[in-house]
Amino acid sequence: MIKITEKHIDVQKVIETATSLSAGAVNVFIGTVRNNAHGKNVLWLEYEAYETMAVGEIRKIIDEASQRWPLLGWAISHRIGTLKPGEVSVVVAVSTPHRKDSFDACQFIIDTVKEKAPIWKKEVFEDGEEWISARPEMEFKG
């Protein structure tokens, strides 16, 4: 299951979708909106996706993960729209026969999704807003 959604993500449902009866291990990564960034209070985040392409890129990432690890089940849900601190922005869940593979595959997927999927977030502070990672000078602000 690959889902890009404006609605609240049901973590339990993502986990259930990824779980297989023959799996012994499920690893789940949950990204949440932090209430602070660069020492400033985050009011909310705006997430935007190029949806058709995001689904296609994520599908390629899953295909590559499936070749490298024995995935018995997997599911990804990524939120878009307006998110407040504490809300879940992304959930990746994978199941494998043994636990090390579940960690490695899940980490590969979330790392690569963050690197390649066309999804963007803008942090909104009291005194302004910025698209994360867009400009080089932002690297020095953190």
Binding site: S89, V113, K116, P118
Partner: protein, 81 residues
């Protein structure tokens, strides 16, 4: 030879181009030609950490020839997750 393309813009490029979709008239018909015109019209694009151009939902190479029916999109540095 001038060619018109409709360009989708996301994230910070939506702010720079001033909208989700912009019609751009370019000389030539490759991705590189489009990039040249975009940088000329919207020099703020040069301040981005990277800018990819996607054609029909795939990252495109600079030499790719654009067709009228292509869906073309600007992909500034991604920051999902």
């Amino acid at each position: 030879m001038m060619n018109k393309f409709k360009i989708k813009a996301f994230g910070i490029t939506k702010d720079i181009l001033g909208g989700k979709e912009t019609i751009i008239e370019i000389k030539g018909k490759t991705v590189a030609d489009l990039r040249f015109t975009l940088n000329e019209r919207f020099p703020q694009l040069l301040g981005l950490r990277s800018l990819y151009i996607a054609v029909n939902s795939d990252y495109a190479e600079e030499g790719r020839i654009l067709e009228d029916s292509d869906e073309i999109a600007l992909i500034p540095p991604v920051s999902g997750g």
